[in-house]
Protein backbone atom coordinates (compact mmCIF):
# COMPACT_ATOMS: atom_id res chain seq x y z
CA UNK A 1 0.00 0.00 0.00
CA UNK A 2 1.54 3.34 -0.99
CA UNK A 3 2.54 5.57 1.86
CA UNK A 4 1.07 9.04 2.36
CA UNK A 5 4.35 10.60 1.22
CA UNK A 6 4.39 8.57 -1.97
CA UNK A 7 0.79 9.54 -2.67
CA UNK A 8 1.64 13.20 -2.04
CA UNK A 9 4.65 13.04 -4.39
CA UNK A 10 2.55 11.41 -7.11
CA UNK A 11 -0.13 14.10 -6.78
CA UNK A 12 2.50 16.84 -6.86
CA UNK A 13 4.13 15.43 -10.00
CA UNK A 14 0.73 15.05 -11.62
CA UNK A 15 -0.13 18.62 -10.75
CA UNK A 16 3.20 19.99 -12.03
CA UNK A 17 2.79 18.03 -15.28
CA UNK A 18 -0.71 19.38 -15.74
CA UNK A 19 0.42 22.95 -15.04
CA UNK A 20 3.14 22.57 -17.66
CA UNK A 21 0.65 21.13 -20.11
CA UNK A 22 -1.72 24.02 -19.52
CA UNK A 23 1.17 26.44 -20.06
CA UNK A 24 2.24 24.65 -23.23
CA UNK A 25 -1.22 24.71 -24.77
CA UNK A 26 -2.53 27.99 -23.33
CA UNK A 27 -1.38 30.20 -26.20
CA UNK A 28 -2.41 27.58 -28.75
CA UNK A 29 -5.87 27.45 -27.17
CA UNK A 30 -6.10 31.23 -27.29
CA UNK A 31 -5.09 31.16 -30.98
CA UNK A 32 -7.64 28.42 -31.70
CA UNK A 33 -10.40 30.40 -29.99
CA UNK A 34 -9.45 33.45 -32.06
CA UNK A 35 -9.57 31.37 -35.27
CA UNK A 36 -12.95 29.93 -34.24
CA UNK A 37 -14.14 33.45 -33.63
CA UNK A 38 -12.86 34.59 -37.04
CA UNK A 39 -14.58 31.60 -38.66
CA UNK A 40 -17.86 32.47 -36.93
CA UNK A 41 -17.46 36.14 -37.91
CA UNK A 42 -16.78 35.21 -41.53
CA UNK A 43 -19.79 32.91 -41.78
CA UNK A 44 -22.27 34.84 -39.66
CA UNK A 45 -20.90 38.38 -40.01
CA UNK A 46 -23.43 39.06 -42.76
CA UNK A 47 -26.09 39.30 -40.07
CA UNK A 48 -24.18 42.24 -38.57
CA UNK A 49 -23.22 43.87 -41.88
CA UNK A 50 -19.72 42.44 -42.29
CA UNK A 51 -18.56 41.09 -45.67
CA UNK A 52 -19.58 37.46 -45.72
CA UNK A 53 -20.30 34.58 -48.08
CA UNK A 54 -23.72 34.63 -49.77
CA UNK A 55 -26.26 34.37 -46.96
CA UNK A 56 -27.61 30.98 -48.19
CA UNK A 57 -24.20 29.41 -47.43
CA UNK A 58 -24.33 30.89 -43.92
CA UNK A 59 -27.83 29.51 -43.50
CA UNK A 60 -26.68 26.02 -44.54
CA UNK A 61 -23.85 26.13 -41.97
CA UNK A 62 -25.86 27.80 -39.20
CA UNK A 63 -27.57 24.63 -37.88
CA UNK A 64 -24.12 23.20 -37.01
CA UNK A 65 -22.64 26.33 -35.47
CA UNK A 66 -24.39 26.75 -32.13
CA UNK A 67 -21.11 26.66 -30.20
CA UNK A 68 -19.50 29.23 -32.51
CA UNK A 69 -22.57 31.45 -32.37
CA UNK A 70 -22.61 31.44 -28.56
CA UNK A 71 -18.87 32.08 -28.52
CA UNK A 72 -19.33 34.99 -30.92
CA UNK A 73 -21.88 36.50 -28.54
CA UNK A 74 -19.71 35.97 -25.48
CA UNK A 75 -16.72 37.48 -27.28
CA UNK A 76 -18.60 40.75 -27.60
CA UNK A 77 -18.22 41.09 -23.81
CA UNK A 78 -14.44 40.93 -24.18
CA UNK A 79 -14.42 43.15 -27.24
CA UNK A 80 -13.92 46.23 -25.04
CA UNK A 81 -10.61 44.97 -23.66
CA UNK A 82 -8.86 42.59 -26.06
CA UNK A 83 -5.38 43.80 -24.99
CA UNK A 84 -6.26 43.04 -21.36
CA UNK A 85 -7.27 39.50 -22.32
CA UNK A 86 -4.03 39.01 -24.24
CA UNK A 87 -1.95 40.51 -21.39
CA UNK A 88 -3.51 38.16 -18.84
CA UNK A 89 -2.91 35.28 -21.22
CA UNK A 90 0.75 36.11 -21.50
CA UNK A 91 0.97 36.92 -17.77
CA UNK A 92 2.16 40.46 -18.42
CA UNK A 93 1.91 43.07 -15.67
Amino acid sequence: MPSKLEHWIRSAIKMITQVNREKATGILEFETHELENIFALLVLGGFAGLPSPPSPIAVELLPYMEKELLMLLSRTDLAQDPIGVLASMLEVG
Binding site: R21, T25, L28, L35, P54, I57, V59, P63, Y64, E66
Partner: protein, 315 residues
Protein backbone atom coordinates in the same frame (compact mmCIF):
# COMPACT_ATOMS: atom_id res chain seq x y z
CA UNK B 1 -23.26 14.06 -72.20
CA UNK B 2 -23.92 17.63 -73.31
CA UNK B 3 -27.72 17.72 -73.04
CA UNK B 4 -28.56 20.96 -71.28
CA UNK B 5 -29.40 24.07 -73.28
CA UNK B 6 -29.63 27.65 -71.99
CA UNK B 7 -31.01 30.56 -73.99
CA UNK B 8 -29.68 33.89 -72.71
CA UNK B 9 -30.23 37.49 -73.73
CA UNK B 10 -31.73 40.86 -73.00
CA UNK B 11 -35.35 41.02 -71.87
CA UNK B 12 -37.76 40.91 -74.80
CA UNK B 13 -35.37 39.54 -77.45
CA UNK B 14 -37.40 36.34 -77.80
CA UNK B 15 -35.80 33.85 -75.38
CA UNK B 16 -39.07 32.13 -74.54
CA UNK B 17 -40.19 32.04 -78.18
CA UNK B 18 -36.94 30.58 -79.52
CA UNK B 19 -36.42 28.16 -76.62
CA UNK B 20 -39.99 26.84 -77.07
CA UNK B 21 -39.53 26.57 -80.85
CA UNK B 22 -36.18 24.80 -80.31
CA UNK B 23 -37.72 22.35 -77.80
CA UNK B 24 -40.64 21.64 -80.14
CA UNK B 25 -38.23 21.09 -83.02
CA UNK B 26 -36.17 18.55 -81.04
CA UNK B 27 -39.34 16.82 -79.83
CA UNK B 28 -40.55 16.51 -83.43
CA UNK B 29 -37.21 14.83 -84.25
CA UNK B 30 -38.08 12.16 -81.70
CA UNK B 31 -35.96 13.43 -78.79
CA UNK B 32 -37.52 13.35 -75.35
CA UNK B 33 -37.35 17.00 -74.24
CA UNK B 34 -38.04 18.90 -71.03
CA UNK B 35 -38.32 22.67 -71.21
CA UNK B 36 -38.13 24.59 -67.92
CA UNK B 37 -38.65 28.29 -67.37
CA UNK B 38 -36.37 29.87 -64.74
CA UNK B 39 -37.80 33.36 -65.20
CA UNK B 40 -39.63 34.57 -62.07
CA UNK B 41 -42.02 36.34 -64.49
CA UNK B 42 -42.88 33.15 -66.38
CA UNK B 43 -44.47 33.23 -69.81
CA UNK B 44 -43.49 29.79 -71.09
CA UNK B 45 -47.01 28.57 -70.36
CA UNK B 46 -48.40 31.46 -72.45
CA UNK B 47 -46.04 30.63 -75.33
CA UNK B 48 -47.05 26.96 -75.28
CA UNK B 49 -50.67 27.86 -74.52
CA UNK B 50 -50.83 25.53 -71.52
CA UNK B 51 -51.19 26.02 -67.76
CA UNK B 52 -47.81 25.13 -66.17
CA UNK B 53 -46.65 24.55 -62.60
CA UNK B 54 -43.43 23.44 -60.91
CA UNK B 55 -44.17 19.85 -61.93
CA UNK B 56 -43.33 18.62 -65.44
CA UNK B 57 -46.46 18.49 -67.58
CA UNK B 58 -46.83 16.96 -71.03
CA UNK B 59 -47.23 19.69 -73.62
CA UNK B 60 -46.73 17.78 -76.86
CA UNK B 61 -45.64 14.23 -77.75
CA UNK B 62 -42.02 13.95 -76.47
CA UNK B 63 -42.18 17.40 -74.86
CA UNK B 64 -42.77 18.13 -71.15
CA UNK B 65 -42.69 21.62 -69.68
CA UNK B 66 -42.55 23.25 -66.26
CA UNK B 67 -42.24 26.68 -64.71
CA UNK B 68 -39.89 26.69 -61.72
CA UNK B 69 -41.61 28.01 -58.61
CA UNK B 70 -38.82 30.05 -56.98
CA UNK B 71 -40.91 30.87 -53.89
CA UNK B 72 -41.30 27.12 -53.28
CA UNK B 73 -37.53 26.60 -53.47
CA UNK B 74 -36.77 29.51 -51.12
CA UNK B 75 -39.34 28.25 -48.59
CA UNK B 76 -38.19 24.65 -48.86
CA UNK B 77 -34.58 25.59 -48.32
CA UNK B 78 -35.26 27.87 -45.34
CA UNK B 79 -37.64 25.32 -43.77
CA UNK B 80 -35.01 22.55 -44.09
CA UNK B 81 -32.40 24.73 -42.40
CA UNK B 82 -34.83 25.86 -39.71
CA UNK B 83 -35.80 22.24 -38.95
CA UNK B 84 -32.16 21.18 -38.79
CA UNK B 85 -31.35 24.12 -36.55
CA UNK B 86 -34.20 23.29 -34.16
CA UNK B 87 -33.01 19.73 -33.80
CA UNK B 88 -29.39 20.78 -33.14
CA UNK B 89 -29.71 23.93 -31.02
CA UNK B 90 -30.90 24.44 -27.49
CA UNK B 91 -34.38 25.91 -27.18
CA UNK B 92 -33.51 29.49 -26.15
CA UNK B 93 -30.99 29.97 -29.00
CA UNK B 94 -33.50 28.67 -31.55
CA UNK B 95 -36.03 31.14 -30.25
CA UNK B 96 -33.65 34.05 -30.85
CA UNK B 97 -32.73 32.93 -34.36
CA UNK B 98 -36.26 32.30 -35.53
CA UNK B 99 -36.77 35.93 -36.54
CA UNK B 100 -33.67 35.76 -38.78
CA UNK B 101 -35.29 33.11 -40.94
CA UNK B 102 -38.33 35.28 -41.47
CA UNK B 103 -36.25 38.03 -43.07
CA UNK B 104 -33.82 35.72 -44.91
CA UNK B 105 -36.48 35.07 -47.52
CA UNK B 106 -35.81 38.59 -48.77
CA UNK B 107 -32.01 38.58 -48.29
CA UNK B 108 -29.88 39.44 -51.34
CA UNK B 109 -28.79 36.34 -53.21
CA UNK B 110 -31.57 34.07 -51.98
CA UNK B 111 -33.50 34.16 -55.25
CA UNK B 112 -30.37 33.40 -57.32
CA UNK B 113 -29.65 30.45 -55.06
CA UNK B 114 -33.21 29.25 -55.45
CA UNK B 115 -32.61 29.19 -59.24
CA UNK B 116 -29.45 27.12 -58.66
CA UNK B 117 -31.25 24.61 -56.44
CA UNK B 118 -34.00 24.32 -59.03
CA UNK B 119 -31.46 23.69 -61.83
CA UNK B 120 -29.66 21.13 -59.65
CA UNK B 121 -32.93 19.36 -58.89
CA UNK B 122 -34.01 19.33 -62.54
CA UNK B 123 -30.59 18.12 -63.65
CA UNK B 124 -30.27 15.31 -61.12
CA UNK B 125 -33.89 14.20 -60.61
CA UNK B 126 -35.50 14.87 -63.99
CA UNK B 127 -32.43 15.04 -66.26
CA UNK B 128 -32.01 11.24 -66.56
CA UNK B 129 -35.61 10.93 -67.80
CA UNK B 130 -34.99 13.14 -70.86
CA UNK B 131 -32.64 13.35 -73.84
CA UNK B 132 -32.48 17.13 -73.70
CA UNK B 133 -33.29 19.74 -71.02
CA UNK B 134 -33.91 23.28 -72.33
CA UNK B 135 -33.84 26.23 -69.91
CA UNK B 136 -35.64 29.44 -70.71
CA UNK B 137 -33.75 31.92 -68.54
CA UNK B 138 -34.65 35.24 -66.92
CA UNK B 139 -33.17 38.44 -68.39
CA UNK B 140 -29.39 38.93 -68.28
CA UNK B 141 -28.84 40.34 -64.77
CA UNK B 142 -30.38 37.41 -62.89
CA UNK B 143 -29.04 34.83 -65.36
CA UNK B 144 -25.46 36.04 -65.03
CA UNK B 145 -25.75 36.10 -61.27
CA UNK B 146 -26.89 32.47 -61.02
CA UNK B 147 -24.32 31.36 -63.61
CA UNK B 148 -21.52 33.02 -61.63
CA UNK B 149 -22.69 31.92 -58.17
CA UNK B 150 -21.07 28.45 -58.21
CA UNK B 151 -17.66 29.99 -58.97
CA UNK B 152 -17.92 32.88 -56.49
CA UNK B 153 -19.48 30.84 -53.69
CA UNK B 154 -16.99 28.06 -54.43
CA UNK B 155 -14.16 30.44 -53.55
CA UNK B 156 -15.79 31.29 -50.22
CA UNK B 157 -16.36 27.62 -49.44
CA UNK B 158 -12.75 26.79 -50.34
CA UNK B 159 -11.34 29.48 -48.03
CA UNK B 160 -13.74 28.63 -45.19
CA UNK B 161 -12.80 24.93 -45.53
CA UNK B 162 -9.11 25.83 -45.26
CA UNK B 163 -9.74 27.88 -42.11
CA UNK B 164 -11.80 25.06 -40.62
CA UNK B 165 -9.00 22.58 -41.36
CA UNK B 166 -6.54 24.86 -39.51
CA UNK B 167 -8.87 25.05 -36.51
CA UNK B 168 -9.31 21.26 -36.44
CA UNK B 169 -5.58 20.66 -36.73
CA UNK B 170 -4.89 23.06 -33.82
CA UNK B 171 -7.59 21.37 -31.74
CA UNK B 172 -5.92 18.04 -32.46
CA UNK B 173 -2.53 19.35 -31.28
CA UNK B 174 -4.05 20.76 -28.08
CA UNK B 175 -5.89 17.51 -27.35
CA UNK B 176 -2.70 15.52 -27.85
CA UNK B 177 -0.64 17.76 -25.57
CA UNK B 178 -3.30 18.35 -22.94
CA UNK B 179 -6.14 15.80 -22.93
CA UNK B 180 -7.78 17.64 -20.02
CA UNK B 181 -8.15 20.88 -21.95
CA UNK B 182 -11.77 21.98 -22.60
CA UNK B 183 -10.83 22.01 -26.32
CA UNK B 184 -10.57 18.21 -26.14
CA UNK B 185 -14.35 18.09 -25.79
CA UNK B 186 -14.75 19.79 -29.20
CA UNK B 187 -14.64 17.94 -32.46
CA UNK B 188 -11.07 17.40 -33.62
CA UNK B 189 -11.48 15.13 -36.62
CA UNK B 190 -12.41 16.29 -40.14
CA UNK B 191 -14.66 13.26 -40.63
CA UNK B 192 -16.63 14.00 -37.45
CA UNK B 193 -16.86 17.78 -37.77
CA UNK B 194 -20.34 18.61 -39.04
CA UNK B 195 -19.39 22.14 -40.15
CA UNK B 196 -16.51 20.78 -42.23
CA UNK B 197 -18.76 18.03 -43.62
CA UNK B 198 -21.39 20.60 -44.54
CA UNK B 199 -18.77 22.80 -46.25
CA UNK B 200 -17.55 19.79 -48.20
CA UNK B 201 -21.13 18.98 -49.24
CA UNK B 202 -21.83 22.56 -50.39
CA UNK B 203 -18.49 22.62 -52.25
CA UNK B 204 -19.31 19.39 -54.10
CA UNK B 205 -22.74 20.69 -55.14
CA UNK B 206 -21.27 23.97 -56.37
CA UNK B 207 -18.54 22.18 -58.32
CA UNK B 208 -21.22 19.98 -59.90
CA UNK B 209 -23.14 23.06 -61.07
CA UNK B 210 -19.94 24.77 -62.25
CA UNK B 211 -19.16 21.67 -64.30
CA UNK B 212 -22.70 21.57 -65.66
CA UNK B 213 -22.50 25.19 -66.86
CA UNK B 214 -18.93 25.05 -68.18
CA UNK B 215 -18.67 21.56 -69.66
CA UNK B 216 -22.10 20.03 -70.15
CA UNK B 217 -24.21 22.90 -71.43
CA UNK B 218 -24.99 24.42 -74.80
CA UNK B 219 -25.40 28.17 -74.31
CA UNK B 220 -26.99 30.29 -76.97
CA UNK B 221 -27.27 34.05 -76.75
CA UNK B 222 -30.20 35.73 -78.50
CA UNK B 223 -29.93 39.21 -79.99
CA UNK B 224 -32.17 41.45 -82.03
CA UNK B 225 -30.85 43.58 -84.87
CA UNK B 226 -30.38 46.56 -82.53
CA UNK B 227 -27.43 48.00 -80.66
CA UNK B 228 -28.88 47.59 -77.15
CA UNK B 229 -29.33 43.83 -77.36
CA UNK B 230 -25.92 43.47 -79.05
CA UNK B 231 -24.24 45.46 -76.26
CA UNK B 232 -25.89 43.24 -73.68
CA UNK B 233 -24.87 40.10 -75.58
CA UNK B 234 -21.27 41.36 -75.52
CA UNK B 235 -21.49 41.80 -71.75
CA UNK B 236 -22.86 38.26 -71.47
CA UNK B 237 -19.99 36.98 -73.62
CA UNK B 238 -17.43 38.84 -71.42
CA UNK B 239 -18.88 37.48 -68.20
CA UNK B 240 -19.11 33.92 -69.55
CA UNK B 241 -15.48 34.10 -70.71
CA UNK B 242 -14.42 35.21 -67.20
CA UNK B 243 -16.32 32.27 -65.73
CA UNK B 244 -14.84 29.83 -68.25
CA UNK B 245 -18.28 29.04 -69.71
CA UNK B 246 -18.15 28.70 -73.51
CA UNK B 247 -20.80 30.24 -75.72
CA UNK B 248 -22.03 27.87 -78.43
CA UNK B 249 -24.22 29.94 -80.76
CA UNK B 250 -25.73 33.34 -81.48
CA UNK B 251 -29.35 33.62 -82.58
CA UNK B 252 -30.41 36.80 -84.36
CA UNK B 253 -34.13 37.08 -83.76
CA UNK B 254 -36.66 39.50 -85.29
CA UNK B 255 -34.52 40.01 -88.41
CA UNK B 256 -36.22 42.60 -90.63
CA UNK B 257 -38.17 44.23 -87.81
CA UNK B 258 -36.93 47.58 -89.16
CA UNK B 259 -35.18 48.90 -92.29
CA UNK B 260 -32.25 50.13 -90.23
CA UNK B 261 -28.85 49.07 -91.62
CA UNK B 262 -27.43 46.57 -89.22
CA UNK B 263 -24.13 44.75 -88.84
CA UNK B 264 -23.17 41.96 -86.47
CA UNK B 265 -20.45 42.73 -83.95
CA UNK B 266 -17.17 40.96 -84.98
CA UNK B 267 -16.77 39.56 -81.47
CA UNK B 268 -20.13 37.79 -81.72
CA UNK B 269 -19.73 36.96 -85.42
CA UNK B 270 -17.14 34.28 -84.65
CA UNK B 271 -19.84 32.02 -83.16
CA UNK B 272 -22.25 30.02 -85.36
CA UNK B 273 -25.06 32.43 -86.37
CA UNK B 274 -28.73 31.55 -86.77
CA UNK B 275 -31.19 34.07 -88.14
CA UNK B 276 -34.95 34.22 -87.53
CA UNK B 277 -37.20 36.61 -89.39
CA UNK B 278 -39.57 38.95 -87.63
CA UNK B 279 -43.09 37.56 -87.78
CA UNK B 280 -45.40 40.39 -88.85
CA UNK B 281 -48.49 38.47 -87.81
CA UNK B 282 -47.03 37.77 -84.35
CA UNK B 283 -46.49 34.41 -82.65
CA UNK B 284 -49.70 33.41 -80.96
CA UNK B 285 -50.18 29.67 -81.50
CA UNK B 286 -48.11 26.53 -81.21
CA UNK B 287 -48.23 26.24 -85.00
CA UNK B 288 -46.57 29.66 -85.18
CA UNK B 289 -43.80 28.31 -82.93
CA UNK B 290 -43.43 25.23 -85.13
CA UNK B 291 -43.11 27.44 -88.19
CA UNK B 292 -39.89 28.95 -86.79
CA UNK B 293 -37.14 26.90 -88.39
CA UNK B 294 -34.80 26.04 -85.50
CA UNK B 295 -33.67 22.88 -87.34
CA UNK B 296 -30.13 24.16 -88.13
CA UNK B 297 -29.65 25.21 -84.48
CA UNK B 298 -30.93 21.80 -83.34
CA UNK B 299 -28.50 20.12 -85.77
CA UNK B 300 -25.57 22.08 -84.29
CA UNK B 301 -26.70 21.14 -80.80
CA UNK B 302 -27.00 17.46 -81.68
CA UNK B 303 -23.54 17.57 -83.30
CA UNK B 304 -22.27 19.13 -80.07
CA UNK B 305 -23.96 16.38 -78.06
CA UNK B 306 -21.91 13.78 -79.90
CA UNK B 307 -18.76 15.84 -79.35
CA UNK B 308 -19.27 17.38 -75.89
CA UNK B 309 -17.41 20.51 -74.83
CA UNK B 310 -15.44 18.63 -72.19
CA UNK B 311 -13.96 16.35 -74.87
CA UNK B 312 -13.27 19.26 -77.17
CA UNK B 313 -11.46 20.99 -74.29
CA UNK B 314 -9.29 17.91 -73.71
CA UNK B 315 -8.28 17.90 -77.37
Amino acid sequence: MNKTVFFLGKGGVGKTTLSSAFALSLASMGKKVLIASLDPAHNLGDALDIQLTGQAKNAEPNLDALEVDLAYWVDKYLDDSRRQLKSNYSYNVTLNLDSFFNILKYAPGTEEYAVLWAIEDINTRLGPLYDVVVFDTPPTALSLRFLSLPTISGLWVKELSKLRETILSKRQTITRLNPESPVAESCVDKDDDKVYGQLKGIGARLRGLEHLFACESFLSVIVNPDQLSIDEALRIQDELTKLGIPLSAVCINKQGVSDMVWEQNPSLARYPQFTYDFSRGGISTREDLLSIDTGPLADLFLKNTQNPIIERKKK
